[in-house]
């Protein structure tokens, strides 16, 4: 894999994975917070 293609591909893959992890965590937290607020 060449320098340019390699960097673009791997930076994109890792950045997208981090974004998915952050998004999923945020959604899950929001859902749990809603459940907790509804329980009150």
């Amino acid at each position: 894999m060449s320098l340019v293609v390699g960097t673009i591909v791997w930076v994109s893959i890792v950045t997208v994975l981090v974004a998915i992890a952050g998004y999923v965590l945020d959604r899950r937290t929001a859902r749990q917070e809603n459940v907790r607020n509804n329980d009150r």
């Binding site: 390699g6 960097t7 791997w10 930076v11 952050g22 937290t29 749990q32 917070e33």
Partner: protein, 308 residues
């Protein structure tokens, strides 16, 4: 005092620390004690952070003893490979422990899935670290060595990864780019939180910004991951660089400082329009100084030290 002293000072912390932290964590589950759970998660996170300088100082210690009689390259590299894997699992445990602390504050409890993840990761990390410690002991203590040299599945993994980082054209620039992505995520969120505590955007409650903290943690994780790849790539250019010692020291302190904004009551109770107490403001200023210090020392690696 040199890196050999630091390695000798620190190398028992990861094993003993995880025995204590993990033991208290399992006890907290059995006793259903939230206070004990908080303490154990803080210990697991702290020990995971200490595992970083423990690993790094090992390269300095290896330099000092590699030409001594009875010490072989294979023994050192087997220990290094085992420690590399054990540290990776410890850092992962530390990340989930931090997430548990954040969830504890946010959701008034740690979800069951994360408790399971932390318990499993703690036990796996502990097993791997005990093995790495034993392999480290074998380097200088012939009396505990077997007749044949110990062979581990990962072998000299750290050297293999290191060669991959330096020999693959796209690897170093990829890590550099991701290091900056992580830095931007981390400092973007941390400075936002710090500025609010200092009185900027007073209309926003602290709890709203607290929700962003996992993004900062992901950035920190990205930086530790890519940073470790740089380190295993060319350890020699870091272990003799004072600017690097400062960078790691300041990053440890900044990590500890982040705990204040993760779990303490004072910032958490800051509602819209409210002024933060002096303690919170001091913590915010120190966080900014520490992170700018980390960035400064990182940038000065080639100028104040001898890297690159």
């Amino acid at each position: 005092m040199d890196l050999t002293h630091i390695h000798l000072l620190l190398n028992h912390f990861p094993t003993i620390g995880f025995i204590i932290g993990g033991g208290l964590f399992l006890l907290s589950l059995a006793m259903k004690s939230d206070d004990l759970k908080l303490v154990s998660l803080v210990i697991l996170l702290g020990i995971a952070l200490i595992a970083i300088p423990t690993y790094m100082s090992g390269n300095g210690a290896a330099d000092a003893i590699k030409s001594r009689p009875g010490v072989t390259k294979a023994l050192i590299e087997t220990h290094e490979g085992a420690a590399f894997v054990a540290m990776g699992f410890m850092l992962l445990t530390g990340m989930f422990a931090w997430l548990g602390l954040w969830q504890f504050r946010r959701l008034a409890g740690v979800p069951g899935w994360n408790l399971t993840v932390i318990a499993v990761l703690t036990l796996v990390s502990l097993g791997l670290m005990i093995r790495a410690s034993n392999l480290g002991g074998e380097i200088r203590h012939e009396e505990i060595r077997g007749v044949q040299e110990t062979v581990t599945p990962e072998g000299a993994l750290a050297r293999t990864v290191g060669s991959f980082v330096t020999d693959t054209p796209w690897m170093w620039p990829t890590c550099e780019t991701l290091h900056f992505v992580g830095l931007s995520l981390l400092c973007g969120v941390v400075f936002l939180v710090d500025l609010r505590v200092l009185g900027v955007m007073k209309g926003v409650s602290f709890a709203s910004l607290h929700r962003l903290l996992p993004w900062a943690a992901l950035g920190f994780g990205l930086n530790i991951g890519t940073g470790m790849l740089f380190f295993v790539g060319i350890p020699g250019q870091y272990i003799h660089n004072p600017s690097f010692y400062w960078k790691i020291g300041l990053a440890m302190l900044a990590g500890a400082n982040a705990l204040y904004f993760t779990i303490f009551d004072e910032p958490w109770s800051l509602g819209p329009g409210e002024d933060a107490p002096l303690t919170a403001k001091i913590a915010a200023v120190s966080a900014m100084v520490l992170w700018i210090g980390v960035m400064y020392c990182g940038s000065m690696l080639p100028f104040l030290g001898n890297s690159f």
